[in-house]
Subunit: 367 residues, 2 copies
């Protein structure tokens, strides 16, 4: 009865992520600790909060469709030109636009098996063919990605650095080498959603006009503004300009634009957040150790905890913690799925985790 | 150097609208009266404003990707089921998703010449072939649209009721008849962005499960929240469900969701806004008359004013008013482009218009 175009007609009805609100409604009560979506409970800069509350009073106006002020501030911050930057509705939205711009139906795209599902959702959504290589030592494997790119003639290759869901990272020199070995005509998507948490040497020095790579950043993580939906991409001006051909020009909300601009300018708050996240990572590591599990090193605001068991055990833990009011997630594919993934958060929420985890472990071990 | 997929490679670099902020930067000063984007300067409900300011404090959380609470409230408001409704990043975003879902490259889409440019932008953006029929008596012409649909075998047909940019409207019975005459397999997009301003009998009674039509609504106009980026579509559950295959699931920002929910519940504020807009429409009509021009009847929060001259004169007026600090727009195609389009606004802004318009008319008449 409803006639869809061929590509969407062939897509599954699945969604990339089930949100915590859906789980809360199913459980009939809110989570006591929200540690599953790599949100940043240390919150946005008070200056960003004030800017958003002030901007709410002007919400009758559309946001500036060029995101002019934010784009210029980002350019100054990164030492690039405004034409190297496009602002969009989070990295999710920008990934969708980028795939639309570069992937024709049947084009091959390479990523890692277990990497960001929303990227895969977009590739499938535009008729691209996903080709996946395994993680190596809990990290995305640049050499394997490159080998596969050459083998299949990939149009796009995705790499997150630091990585989600494992929290691992590569030195910037590894990324630079990957870039130099990239075949002509292949574009590297470097998803740096967690860049602000990473050691400085994890962030490669790349000319903003380099046509081989596009970097994705966001205000959702270190800036504590996931609900504001503001991300940006940095790349060659021709590629950046192409977003204007397809993007939802008035799509970035006015309040988010104002908040992001203020957040960017509060470097002290960002430094404070990064320090708090480091402390929280260590505490999550200690909680894991107290429960006979091993926290993997992380350059992000979450920790992948190796349960030392299998995917069924980890799934059991996620479910048992949910029953305890603690929202966490876990990697989707073996062997990564022996881990659980816990977001950094203020102490009050980690207290709840610390109390609930032993009960969850006991419950799953009994089962 | 930058390789785009074939469809985007063939798209122009043009954008649907130049925002007022860009014009302000070009002029080196802000507009004194912002009357060009059909924004609603009477603003959102104080309850919506309070809800947004409160939600800013929780902006570290992603918004609910299912837009659950807002969807249920909208369903109750319209007397439909939640599965008849999908919430998205404004009607602009939803139009893009709908075109993506239904239009394959080469499919023909029918609209009116001079109707909403952003819809055309999306059709071109997905490789659809636009086919346009002229307005008739300053209104979109359902019979001409239908005839063209049959002639070209259109997949989609777009009709705004009330219409933008002319403010005209059809009785709901006309829309119902159009629907009943629609060929099998053609989907009607009924853009009702201005529905709340229209007489009740302009809104057709259509079964929400009718697979022949999808209706678009927004919080940008009557609810005064253009900058929040919240719109919704109502239609057959199978079509609504299909949006989940392609939409940016976390795309609707958390603050906008909270604001829209509160705005929907404040019916008194909406009624007050509608009354204020009616008063402003009458005043714009009087201002037009004072300047030897004729306001066309409008069922929206803007007025198309017939200058009685041609497109060059109207363009001159738009530019002369901009030089006076007054932002307005005008229809894009002849013969509609003999008109200027002025958004309803509080008296302070219409005072500025009333003062500036005679000077603008004089300046353009002299030129």
């Amino acid at each position: 009865m409803i006639r869809l175009a061929p590509i969407p007609a062939g897509l599954p009805a699945t969604v990339p992520f089930v949100g915590p609100e859906t789980l809360e409604r199913q459980a009939g009560r809110p989570f006591a600790a929200r540690l599953g979506a790599n949100e940043n409970g240390f919150g946005p800069s008070p200056r960003a909060l004030a800017a958003m509350q002030a901007a709410a009073g002007e919400v009758w106006k559309y946001g500036d469709p060029t995101n002019h002020d934010l784009t210029r501030a980002l350019a100054a911050h990164h030492g690039v030109r405004p034409r190297n930057i496009v602002v969009g509705e989070g990295i999710d939205g920008l990934l969708g636009l980028l795939v639309r711009l570069t992937v024709a139906p049947g084009d091959v795209v390479v990523t890692s098996d277990g990497a960001y599902p929303t990227f895969n959702f977009h590739v499938a959504g535009f008729g691209g063919c996903l080709n996946k290589v395994p993680y190596r030592n809990e990290a995305e494997d640049p050499q394997a990605l490159l080998d596969r790119v050459r083998q299949v003639g990939a149009r796009l290759v995705y790499l997150a650095n630091p990585d989600n869901p494992m929290g691992s990272w590569h030195d910037g020199t590894v990324i630079r080498t990957m870039l130099d070995d990239l075949p002509e005509g292949t574009l590297l998507i470097l998803d740096e959603a967690y860049a602000e948490f990473a050691p400085a040497d994890a962030l490669p020095d790349i000319d903003a006009d380099d046509p081989r790579v596009i970097r994705m950043r966001t205000f959702s993580k270190a800036y504590g503004m996931a609900g504001a939906r503001v991300g940006y991409a940095m790349g060659h001006p021709d590629l950046i300009a192409a977003f204007d051909r397809v993007r939802n020009h008035f799509g970035v909300n006015r309040i988010g634009q104002a908040g992001a601009l203020a957040a960017l300018q509060d470097r002290d708050w960002l430094a404070r957040t990064v320090a708090q996240v480091a402390t929280a990572r260590a505490r999550i590591g200690a909680i894991a150790g107290d429960n006979g599990m091993t926290a993997l090193p992380s350059a992000t605001n979450f920790v992948a905890v190796d349960t030392g068991r299998d995917g069924a055990f980890a799934r059991g833990l996620v479910d048992a913690l949910a029953a305890e009011g603690v929202f966490i997630r876990m990697p989707g594919v073996a062997p990564l799925n022996r881990c659980i993934r816990i977001s950094c958060a203020p102490d009050a929420e980690l207290d709840i985790l610390a109390e609930a985890l032993p009960r969850a472990v006991a419950a799953v071990s009994r089962a």
